[in-house]
C-alpha cells in the first residue's frame, strides 16, 4: 500500500457529469491530487444517470487539475441485463409506505445497472489504497464496492431523508464502513435517526470554489436578458429535485400578470416550459462553470425547491455571488444553512413561494441586503482548503500509513 494513494469510486465522473455528489468527488480528487496524493478514480463509462449508456471509453485515462496534477481515471462498462420489474415493484411499494423484505431490497438493488468489472477491479486492487472512498450511498457502485474492503472503505453517503435511506439493505454500509465523511450537522442527525454511525464519523463539509470574478452584465448581454429581473434554478430538472412543482408554482404566480420575473434554468432534464408563458422560462441547457457563476451573480434570487439535499452546493454558489436563496423549507439541510447564515427565505407551500418571489421582484434592494451575510458564511465554513484540511486529518487518523 502506498501511504498517499487513495481511490474514489463515484458512479459517474467527469466535467460533463451533472450531479452535485459526483461533482464534489471530482473536486476532492483534484484537491488531494494538488496536495500530493496519488489519486485514482474508478468509475463507469456512463455519463447520464437515466440511461447509464456506456458513453465514455473503458480503460485508463487522465484528468488534470487546474495546476496540472494528475488524477488517474479508470472506467468500466455498465451492464444492464435485467428487466427492472423488481425495481419498479419495490419502488411502487416504497411510494405507498410499504417496507419490502430484505430479499426484495437486494433484488431491487441488483435489478438495474451494475458494473461487475469495476467490482472485480476493486476486489483485486483495494489493498493498494490507503482508503477507498465510495459515494453517494444510493448507487450500486457504492453499495457493491463498499462491501469489498470495509476496513479501508470511506463512505461519503450524501444522505437524504427518503425511504431508500431507511432500507435495511444499507445497514452494513452505514454501520460497517471504516470511516464516514458527512457534509452537515443535519446529515449527521439524519444518519443517527436511520442507523448508527461508525465511531470514525466526521462532518467534514465540502468546499465551494470561490470565483475570481463575476460578469453579470456580460451574461445578460449574451443571453438577451436585458434588464429583466430573473430567478435562477440550476441542476437536474426532475421530480426528485422539485423542479415540476417549482415550475407550476412559478407559472401560476406569473399568470396573475403582476409578477415581473423570469425563471432562468440550466442543467439537464426536460424543462417543459408552459406554452402560455412564452419567454418567461429560459433554458440555458448545460453550461460551463464561468457561465453558471455569471448567471448566479445576475439573478435576483436562487431557487432551491429540493427537499432532499445533503449539502446544496448551488446555494453556496449563490451566496458567494451575493444572491439570496429561496428554498423549500421541507429540506432540513438547506433550512439549516439559511437559519445559520440568515441569507435566504424558506417556503412551505406554493403560496409562500409566490410571496417570496414577490419579495425579490418588488424589493430588490432588500433582497440584496438579505443576501449579504451569505458570502461570509460560505467563506467561514466551506472553502476547499479548510475542507481538504479536515479530510486529510481524518485520513491520517483513521487510516494510519
Amino acid at each position: 500500500m502506498d501511504a498517499r494513494r487513495i481511490a474514489f469510486v463515484p458512479p459517474r465522473y467527469g466535467p460533463d457529469v451533472v450531479g452535485g455528489a459526483e461533482a464534489v468527488v471530482r473536486q476532492v480528487a483534484h484537491g488531494l491530487a494538488d496536495r500530493g496524493w496519488e489519486v485514482e478514480v474508478l468509475t463507469t463509462c456512463a455519463r447520464d444517470h437515466y440511461t447509464w449508456a456506456n458513453v465514455e471509453r473503458p480503460g485508463p485515462g487522465l484528468d488534470r487539475t487546474a495546476s496540472g496534477a494528475e488524477v488517474h481515471v479508470r472506467r468500466f462498462p455498465m451492464v444492464r441485463d435485467t428487466p427492472g420489474e423488481v425495481r419498479a415493484r419495490v419502488e411502487a411499494a416504497l411510494a405507498t409506505g410499504d417496507v419490502p423484505s430484505l430479499g426484495e431490497q437486494e433484488a431491487w438493488m441488483n435489478d438495474g445497472p451494475r458494473s461487475p468489472e469495476l467490482f472485480h477491479h476493486v476486489l483485486d486492487e483495494a489493498e493498494r489504497f490507503r482508503a477507498v472512498v465510495v459515494s453517494p450511498y444510493l448507487f450500486w457502485t457504492t453499495f457493491a464496492v463498499g462491501a469489498i474492503a470495509p476496513e479501508r472503505t470511506l463512505l461519503r453517503p450524501c444522505l437524504h431523508d427518503e425511504p431508500y435511506a431507511r432500507l435495511e439493505l444499507f445497514e452494513p454500509l452505514l454501520t460497517g464502513s471504516a470511516g464516514v465523511w458527512l457534509q452537515t450537522d443535519p446529515e449527521l442527525d439524519l444518519y443517527r435517526s436511520i442507523s448508527t454511525p461508525p465511531a470514525q464519523t466526521a462532518v467534514v463539509g465540502e468546499g465551494v470554489p470561490v470565483p475570481d470574478r463575476y460578469d453579470p452584465e456580460g451574461f445578460r448581454r449574451r443571453h438577451d436578458l436585458g434588464d429583466r429581473p430573473f430567478v435562477l434554478y440550476g441542476g437536474r430538472r426532475e421530480g426528485a429535485k422539485g423542479w415540476e412543482g417549482l415550475l407550476d408554482a412559478f407559472a401560476d404566480a406569473v399568470r396573475k400578470e403582476d409578477l415581473d420575473l423570469t425563471l432562468v434554468t440550466y442543467g439537464v432534464g426536460e424543462v417543459h416550459a408552459p406554452p402560455d408563458l412564452p419567454g418567461r422560462v429560459v433554458d440555458l441547457g448545460f453550461v460551463d462553470d464561468a457561465t453558471r457563476d455569471d448567471a448566479v451573480a445576475a439573478a435576483s434570487a436562487y431557487l432551491q425547491p429540493s427537499a432532499l439535499e445533503s449539502f446544496s452546493r448551488t446555494v453556496m454558489e449563490a451566496w458567494l455571488a451575493g444572491t439570496p436563496v429561496i428554498a423549500n423549507g421541507a429540506g432540513d439541510v438547506v433550512r439549516w444553512h439559511i437559519e445559520r447564515s440568515g441569507a435566504g427565505l424558506t417556503y412551505d407551500d406554493d403560496v409562500e413561494l409566490e410571496q417570496a418571489l414577490r419579495f425579490v421582484a418588488e424589493a430588490p434592494d432588500a433582497a440584496a441586503a438579505l443576501a449579504a451575510p451569505g458570502r461570509d458564511y460560505v467563506l467561514d465554513h466551506y472553502t476547499w482548503p479548510a475542507t481538504l484540511d479536515r479530510m486529510e486529518a481524518t485520513l491520517d487518523e483513521w487510516f494510519p500509513a
Binding site: D81, T82, S101, L102, G103, E106, A107, M109, N110, D111, R114, P116, F119, H120, L123, D124, W140, F143, A144, A147, I148, A149, P150, E151, T153, E168, L169, E171, P172, L173, T175, G176, S177, A178, P198, A199
Partner: protein, 478 residues
C-alpha cells in the same frame, strides 16, 4: 486414509499448476448477502491474484459476470451453456442453489440427473460441497442414484472435514481420490482494524465483562437458543451473551425461532439480541470484541464463523456436529461439546465458574404464595412471546384461566399426511412409495394450511378486545 490438504483457491490437486486458467466460479455472490457468497468472493480474489482469468456465475443478478436461475434441469442446462470454454468450473454446491425448494424426491431426481449430465459435458468440474443431505444417500431412496450420479460427475469434490469426506465416499460412492479436504479459512482476511478495546467501545460493550458471542444468520439449526439457555446463571458473574445476526428467511420456523430468542433475551438481562444485517466489518468487530465465540449448531457441515474466530485468535465453544469437530479441534483453546449440558458446563468454565454452577432454567422458584399461578403465568408469557410477543387476549396479567380467543384454533393439530404404515405385508412399502411420489405436491399444501392456522390464531389474539376489568362485576349481576 485422509486425502492431502490443499489450499483453498488452489484446490487444484491434479491440475496443472502455474498455468493461467479460465475459471468459472458458480455461487451466490455479493452484493447479495450470503455466507457462501462471501466465501466464494474470497476464493475469487485468491484465484485472480494467482493470475487466473476468473468469471463468476450467480443464481441472481449481482456483481457476478453472469447470472442465471440455476434451479432444476433448466439451471443445469444454463450452467452447461455458460461453462463451456472454461478450463475449470468451480461450483459452490448448496441445495438451495440448484434445487427447487423443498427438494422433493422428484426435484432430486430431475435435478441430479441434469446436473450429472452437465458436469460431464464441462471440461473440469470442481464441487465445493458446502452442504448436502447425507440422508439422500439412503439406498432405499430411489433418488439416491441420481444424487450420486450428480456428485460423481464432478472431477474433484472439496470439503472442509473428514466427516464430510466420508459422507461423500461411503454414502454416495464417490471415488475417494476425487474428494479432497481444503482449509476452510485459507483465504480469509481481516475485515476490521479495531482492537478489542476499540471494538467494545464502538459496540457499546463493557470493557471487562466476559463476552460470549453467537453470530451469523439467525436460523433454528444454528441453535443460538441453546447457547442462550446454557448461559442462564452466568449473567451475574461478569459475563454476557450477545446474539448477533439477521433472520434472513421469513418462513414460519424462523419467525418462531426469533420470537423464542426475543423471549429469552427479555427475561435474561445479560442475554442480548442484536437482530439485523451485519456488515463484514462489523462481523469481525464483534468477533474481536468477544472473549469466546459460541457455535451451538444443531447441524451444519462446516463453519466460516469458526475460521473468522481463528483469524482473530478467539477461542470457540462448538457442538460436535457435522464437520465442526474436525474443523475446530485444530484451533487453539477450542472446546467441543456433545449436548446442552456440556454447552452450559463449557460456558461456565470459560468464565471460571464451577461447572455445576450453571443452571439450565430460570423458571420462577417454588417459594411464592401461589406457585401454580406464577408458573402458569410464566408458561403463558413465554408462549405469547414465542408467538411473536402477542398479548394473550382475554387474560389478566396474572394469567387467569380465561381462554384465549385463539384457543380453539390453536388446539387443532397441524395437518400432516398419514404415516405410510400398515399391518398388512407389503402395504407399507407401497404407501411409502406413494408418499414419496406425492410429497412434492402435498407438502406445499400442508405447509400452507398450517401457516393459515397459525395466522388465524395470531389474528384472533391480535384483534380481540382487551379484558374488561368490570367483567367480574357484570357476571356477579347475573
Amino acid at each position: 486414509m485422509s486425502a492431502p490438504e490443499t489450499a483453498v483457491g488452489g484446490a487444484e490437486a491434479g491440475r496443472a499448476t502455474g498455468g493461467r486458467e479460465r475459471i468459472l466460479v458458480v455461487s451466490p455472490y455479493p452484493p447479495v448477502r450470503d455466507g457462501i457468497g462471501a466465501y466464494a468472493l474470497q476464493q475469487v480474489r485468491s484465484l485472480r491474484r494467482q493470475g487466473h482469468h476468473v468469471e463468476v456465475l450467480s443464481p441472481t443478478p449481482s456483481a457476478a459476470h453472469h447470472h442465471a436461475d440455476l434451479r432444476g434441469p433448466a439451471g443445469a442446462a444454463a450452467l452447461a451453456r455458460i461453462g463451456t470454454g472454461f478450463d475449470r468450473v468451480v461450483v459452490h454446491l448448496h441445495p438451495d442453489v440448484i434445487y427447487r425448494l423443498p427438494p422433493t424426491a422428484g426435484a432430486r431426481l430431475g435435478t441430479g440427473l441434469a446436473y450429472g449430465a452437465a458436469f460431464r459435458r464441462l471440461a473440469h468440474v470442481e464441487l465445493r460441497v458446502h452442504e448436502i443431505d447425507h440422508r439422500w444417500a439412503d439406498p432405499s431412496d430411489p433418488t439416491s442414484r441420481a444424487t450420486a450420479f450428480m456428485l460423481k460427475g464432478a472431477d474433484l469434490l472439496t470439503v472442509h472435514s473428514e466427516e464430510q469426506r466420508s459422507h461423500l465416499v461411503d454414502g454416495f460412492g464417490v471415488p475417494g481420490d476425487r474428494v479432497h479436504l481444503v482449509d476452510h479459512g485459507a483465504d480469509f482476511a481481516p475485515r476490521t482494524t479495531a482492537d478489542r478495546a476499540r471494538a467494545r467501545a464502538s459496540l457499546g460493550l463493557p470493557p471487562d465483562d466476559h463476552v460470549f458471542l453467537c453470530i451469523g444468520f439467525v436460523q433454528p439449526h444454528k441453535g443460538f437458543d441453546r447457547a442462550a439457555r446454557a448461559f442462564v446463571g452466568l449473567g451475574g458473574r461478569g459475563a454476557r451473551l450477545d446474539v448477533v445476526g439477521s433472520a434472513r428467511l421469513g418462513d414460519q420456523a424462523t419467525r418462531d425461532h426469533v420470537a423464542e430468542l426475543r423471549a429469552i433475551a427479555a427475561r435474561e438481562p445479560d442475554v442480548h439480541l442484536h437482530l439485523g444485517f451485519v456488515s463484514d466489518e462489523m462481523f469481525d468487530r464483534w468477533i474481536v470484541a468477544a472473549d469466546t465465540v459460541v457455535l451451538p449448531y444443531r447441524h451444519i457441515w462446516s463453519s466460516s464463523v469458526a475460521e473468522r474466530a481463528a483469524l482473530f485468535d478467539r477461542p470457540v465453544i462448538a457442538t460436535r456436529v457435522g464437520g465442526l469437530a474436525h474443523q475446530v479441534e485444530r484451533l487453539p483453546g477450542a472446546v467441543l461439546v456433545d449436548d446442552n449440558r456440556g454447552l452450559a458446563r463449557a460456558l461456565a468454565e470459560a468464565v471460571g465458574s464451577p461447572a455445576e454452577a450453571a443452571t439450565p432454567s430460570s423458571w420462577p422458584g417454588a417459594d411464592g404464595d401461589d406457585v401454580r399461578s406464577t408458573v402458569q403465568a410464566e408458561v403463558r408469557a413465554r408462549a405469547a412471546a414465542a408467538r411473536g410477543g402477542l398479548p394473550v387476549a382475554g387474560r389478566g396479567p396474572t394469567g387467569d384461566d380465561a381462554p384465549s380467543p385463539s384457543a380453539p384454533v390453536r388446539r387443532l393439530a397441524p395437518l400432516r399426511p398419514p404415516a405410510p404404515v400398515s399391518a398388512r405385508p407389503g402395504v407399507s412399502a407401497v404407501k411409502r412409495l406413494m408418499h414419496r411420489l406425492l410429497a412434492w405436491e402435498l407438502t406445499p399444501i400442508t405447509d400452507q394450511v398450517n401457516s393459515l392456522q397459525r395466522a388465524t390464531a395470531d389474528a384472533l389474539d391480535r384483534t380481540a378486545p382487551p379484558p374488561d376489568p368490570h367483567d367480574d362485576d357484570a357476571d356477579d349481576q347475573h
